[in-house]
Amino acid sequence: MIISKRYLTCCVALLMFAASAVTIAQNHPAGGAKELELIAVLKSDAAKGEKAITCKRLAIYGTDKSVPALAPLLGDKELSSWARIALEAIPGPVADTALRNAMGKLQGRLLVGVINSIAVRRDVRAVNSLVQKLHDANPDVASAAAVALGHIGGKQAAKALTKSLASAPTAVRSAVAEGCILCAEGCLANDSTTDAVKLYDKVRQADVPDQRHLEAIRGAILARRSAGVPLLIEQLRSEDKKRLGIGLRTARELGGRDVTGALAVELARLSPDRRPLLLLAIADRNDSAVLPTVRKAAEGGPKDLRITAINILIRLGDVSCIPILLEAATEDDAELQQAATETLVRLPGKDTDTDLLARLPQAKGKLKQVLIELVGQRQISEGLPAVASSLQDADAGIRGAAVRTISIIGQDRQTADLVKLLQKTDSSTERAGINKALLAISGRCGTGCIRHLRPLTQSRDNELHMIGLHALAIVGGPEALAAVKSAIESAEPAVQDEAVRILSTWPNNWPQDSEAGQALLMLATSAEKMPHQVLGLRGYLQYLRGNKKLSNEQKAAKVKDVRSHIKRPEEERQAIAVLAEAPSVGSLELLTTLADDPAVAEEAYLAIVRIAGREIGGVSKDRRREVLQTVAAKSGNNGTKQKARKALSGVR
């Protein structure tokens, strides 16, 4: 696209408000013509804002041709940074030359900026000038030059920097040390290890800020490779926390199996409070040889170290760690148990599953309990038969673990095993665990469980009967409903009450089950006990609300049928909720009567506005206006009043 005069004019305005998207690539197809247009902007008397953004565009499209237009801007404190955006990006020696030339003309911050750009471009031909700038009276300039020399690297830069380490003013020395460290990295990249070590060591010995020392220590260790171990150990033993810190960091980086070995030896020598820290560092070494060290730490010794090691095994451990972890998981210490179990649950690999399963038949006591729990937590379905047979174990702890595991991975046929166990036990704890497991399996396996649950619904033990009913309620369906309805007729009040409670929430599970609706209606209208009536009514209203087969008019009619039973505000609110979601003539009329009760009037008003605010078949506009006017007049809620007025204005 050719930049027209109009574009040039508009560009200023655009830039004024341009936090907006600018798709340069789309607006400006590639090519030299565009560059010339952009150069023309820089040479024109365009506003600075326009020139600024033009520089950014030249960062993409500029070539050597742009440099003469950009270079003069380096001395402009408002545009210098923009010009450097382009000059840093434009490849080739012409841009390098422009920046070098500017170095000779500028002072202060602008000079620092140019030096920084030279550093980014790694312009070797700038070294002489930068060496001179090392002695600049302005510490910012000298510091920038030092760092730039470090980035560029090479023998001349290194020599100048090491010389300045001792002689540079205090304000500059940190940057000189940084330059030395950068130079050393350059040496390492070029396989000049000896030079790198010399540079690092000079910084270590220089009077520079401590952070530079730490960087040099790290570099000196890494550059020496295995020979750096003594220096590394020195840091790990240092009283200075910062040196310990850089030691721990470097222990993670210094490669080599011999280094791993040396660190493992040091682990035993270090003070106890530092051992977990070093162990964590060793574990991060990405070396398979660390596993024995971690395993050993997990096996015995100070508790902190053991727990650290056990946690590390989550990511480093394998099947060889299982005996140690099982040992810890069966110890009396709760923290160790928890850590070891967590690690066993997360230890990767199918071979781990196989190993754990193989141990199960011979296991006894606490170990067996742990193994059964692991079968569940790791979801090892092959272990299900062994776990199911453990339901017969004489040890209550093992039975409990088996119940928990079956609740996770059990299938419908395990329902029968659980029911048998339930019928045998008197322990409330065990019964609660089995109840939980039956609910879980019933929810997961559905109707397949019903026949296994039947003995419970026929039990004379009320508690078992109720457990069976709850499990059936989770399964749902006609057979389950029949069992619950039958329980409502039970001679046992406790069973009867529980059955009513279960039925009252039935629609949650089977909202389309009309049989449930009928049973709830019966309760609501004919139950002998008042609480049963209330629960029946609530369940029925909930059933109506969730029923998608009923039309809005049918819902309103059914609410009307039970209106005489709806006496308390709690149920009135439920009725309002049903009606509010079923816009119809019947709903509107019922709501106007419900609004007569001050306890629920505001809820009813809101529902009326919701319904009358829209057109409804069979309701005249006059009637809509009438009810909305009533709400606007009577409601004590300003929000509802406003909504009513707004709705009124919409009834035309």
Binding site: A19, T23, K56, R109, D140, Q211, E215, G255, D284, N311
Partner: protein, 426 residues
């Protein structure tokens, strides 16, 4: 951009970072007693914090830090007077004194020897510059995201923290939240089968450019230090409209937008799910309002704004050969099978940063790599920047993560870096 110099053992160090990231859902690795967290903490064992850039987000982060018993904040720094006052009041209230120092210029705060670590929540324009300055000053750094403005800065960030040995935590706190960690663990441990596609919600894929607005009278320095606010951003006159640090120069002058604001979270999570904390996708292509990328291992990254389950903001989805999982900021899950969610753990909605802050403080003590360490942040940001460049150029680009350059694409390569305003450097 000139070619990047390979730092000492960078590849090795990166691999370490990846390893550390595997066990995300685990509790504190080192026992609390060894860290001095058992009840009261001796003053000598406390981490001393300075907070830089303390606007709304910064004060939230700061509140997470202040809740930790082994931390004491002693100084706050902001270019805005109102922010300084609010942050000082917050810290003083916690400390029960009036001693919290205030600074306009972060260099003065960084020069204090008594400060161990800094929180940087300045706004994206300053993040990488402030973070690298802090590292060179010997401070450990918790830095809000997006951490960098371009690819070159991302690489320098990793290099500087590598060189200085300082601890870095990017403010991508979802790495420390159980639901995201659990979904990632499912992807990484083969529970979904071979991983095929990872999906990220970048929250808008537009690209933006911070411009040069009409000059307005500059307020007194005590109220707003405009020069320090601009910091490394190219110069422009004071304008109140640009004072929203949250948006100013986000993701770079030419290529900001949702990619960086949200991508630094959700693309970051996808990176981790794909065990890609040491690399980035090799291809990026805008496709019908989405951005499709591909990793060298064949896994596809899809950045899209719609079609998500109702999981709140910042959702991610991981799909494997045998299953899938999706989660978001409400901490709910969608999954191909409920059995996948058996060990989903505690539900913690609302993306709090407390766990992430705790992980940072623990690593300050152990010197271990944080969950969102500089290397991980580097590559997640590179993925976002490369995606942004593809969107900006509106075409497919190919990236070589070993050479850190776009293949045969000079325009894209020139967008990898941008000069900083004097006197700032990274």
């Amino acid at each position: 951009m000139c070619k990047e110099r390979v730092s000492l053992n960078r590849r090795r160090f990166l691999k370490t970072a990846v390893q550390t990231g595997v066990c995300l859902a685990i509790p504190q690795v080192i026992p609390g007693t060894a860290l001095g967290k058992d009840g009261s903490v001796a003053p000598s064992e406390r981490i001393v914090l300075g907070a830089i850039g303390i606007g709304n987000r910064g004060r939230y982060d700061l509140s997470c830090f202040l809740r930790e018993p082994d931390l004491r904040c002693v100084a706050v720094c902001d270019v805005r007077g109102d922010n300084r006052k609010r942050a000082k009041d917050q810290v003083d209230a916690q400390n029960g004194d009036k001693d919290c120092a205030t600074y306009i210029d972060m260099r003065e705060l960084l020069a204090r020897d008594d400060i161990d670590a800094v929180l940087i929540a300045t706004g994206p324009n300053w993040h990488v510059t402030a973070a690298t300055m802090a590292a060179r000053a010997g401070k450990d750094v918790y830095c809000e995201k997006p951490c960098t403005k371009n690819i070159a800065q991302s690489l320098v960030l990793a290099d500087v923290f590598h060189r200085t040995g300082r601890v870095f935590q990017a403010g991508t706190q979802r790495r420390s939240l159980p639901n995201f960690a659990y979904a990632i663990e499912l992807a990484r441990t083969g529970k979904l089968g071979k991983l095929l596609t990872v999906h990220a919600h970048p929250g808008g894929l537009g690209t933006k450019m911070s411009g040069w607005l009409p000059a307005e009278p500059e307020p007194p320095r005590e109220q707003v230090d405009w020069d320090m606010y601009l910091g490394p951003a190219a110069w422009r006159p004071y304008t109140r409209k640009l004072m929203n640090a949250f948006h100013f120069e986000k993701g770079g002058g030419l290529v900001g937008g949702g990619c960086l604001e949200w991508g630094s979270h959700c693309v970051d999570l996808c990176q981790l799910a794909n065990d890609a904390d040491d690399t980035a996708p090799v291809e990026y292509e805008p496709v019908n309002g989405q951005l499709h990328a591909r990793y060298a291992n064949g896994v596809k990254l899809v950045m899209r704004n719609d079609g998500w389950l109702p999981m709140g903001s910042c959702p991610v989805r991981f799909e494997g050969e045998t299953g899938w999982v999706e989660t978001g900021d409400n901490a709910e899950f969608g999954a191909s099978s409920q059995s996948l969610l058996l060990r989903r753990g505690t539900k913690i909605p609302g993306y709090p940063a407390d766990f992430h802050v705790r992980n940072f403080l623990d690593c300050v003590k152990t010197r271990a790599l944080t969950r969102a360490n500089a290397n991980a942040a580097c590559w997640a940001h590179i993925a976002c920047h490369a995606a942004n460049i593809a969107l900006f150029l509106d075409r497919k680009v190919k990236y070589d993560p070993k050479k850190n350059e776009f293949i045969g694409d000079e325009q894209a390569n020139r967008l990898r870096s941008e000069a900083l305003r004097e006197p700032w450097r990274i």
